[in-house]
């Protein structure tokens, strides 16, 4: 049932809890893990502020650095895990990229931390976890 479990991590506490849950599941099922971090670059803003493209570029470089740190932390936390683990960094819209990655790597389930954006943005767009719940074509487990 669970051969390969994908966990999106953004460095937040719920994401680490999701990773712990996924690890438990993977150990029970002898499954592999795919840990993904999505860097949300300033692409839209980039279009608007063309003249300022250097600062945008710097910002993206910083986000990538932070992304690497998050994946390193994930590696640390997964020490001693008996199965295979793939680490992956993607750029773009979090929910979309997570689903693309799940499809590309033919994972059997996604375990995601529940974390809302705030206020109006969550109301209009929904959180990443709720978009995954609605649009992913594989089982999704939402961890508090």
């Amino acid at each position: 049932m669970f051969k390969k479990i994908l966990v999106p991590v953004d460095g937040s506490a719920p994401a680490w809890r999701a990773m712990d849950t996924a690890r438990n599941l993977a150990e029970t099922y002898h499954a592999d893990l795919v840990i993904v971090h999505v860097v949300q670059g300033l692409s839209t803003r980039g279009l608007i502020v063309n003249g300022m493209d250097i600062s945008v570029k710097n910002d993206n470089v910083n986000s990538t650095k932070i992304g690497n740190m998050i994946l390193d932390t994930a590696k640390d936390r997964l020490k001693g895990f008996p199965g295979k683990v793939e680490y992956d960094m993607e750029f773009g819209d979090a929910a979309e990229k997570i689903m693309d990655d799940a499809r590309d790597k033919s994972v059997s389930a996604i375990v995601v931390g529940r974390r809302g954006l705030s206020g109006v943005e969550e109301f209009l767009l929904g959180s990443v976890s709720s978009r995954l719940v609605q649009y992913a074509d594989i089982p999704v487990m939402v961890v508090k």
């Binding site: 529940r114 976890s129 719940v133 939402v142």
Partner: protein, 145 residues
């Protein structure tokens, strides 16, 4: 993890898929199951049609409960051969909030639920039962497609 799994069933194909998945998970982790069915009634309509008398609503409610019993009987037959404990519960009210109440009352460790949209504008405005449960539950929620 997966010590006591709650599965809400409404008789839909996806809810049976969720039940099967929960059964497999519970067997692997030696867990128990709570199979819940929530009967939807016309609580809002009730406010408007009080003068029409309780008859129609009573009949409607009795029918819904019969259907509920039928759904739970089907669940029972699908659970044959399961080694752990299974509780069957029926509750009347709004599905998402009743599922959350039942999860707390029965102190379940996880919820496994079928993803099923209401469709169209209703889903856009209100969200599906599964996404409400996923958003508000205090325990991990596995959404089965």
């Amino acid at each position: 993890m997966f010590k006591k799994i709650m599965v809400p069933v409404d008789g839909s194909v996806t809810s049976w898929k969720a039940l099967e998945k929960a059964k497999a998970l519970a067997e692997l982790c030696h867990g128990d199951l709570v199979v819940a069915h929530v009967v939807l009634t016309y609580s809002n309509a009730e406010l408007y049609v009080q003068e029409a008398g309780g008859d129609i609503l009573d009949v409607e409610r009795t029918t819904m409960k019969k259907l509920g019993t039928h759904v739970l009987d089907t669940a029972k037959s699908k659970m044959e051969g399961f080694s752990g404990k299974v509780e069957y519960v029926m509750e009347v009210g709004q599905p998402a909030s009743q599922i959350l109440n039942l999860a707390e009352k029965h102190e379940v460790t996880d919820i496994v639920i079928g993803c099923r949209g209401l469709g169209g504008i209703e889903e856009f405005l209100l969200g599906s039962v599964s996404s409400k449960v996923a958003q508000h539950a205090k325990v991990p929620v596995l959404i089965v497609k």
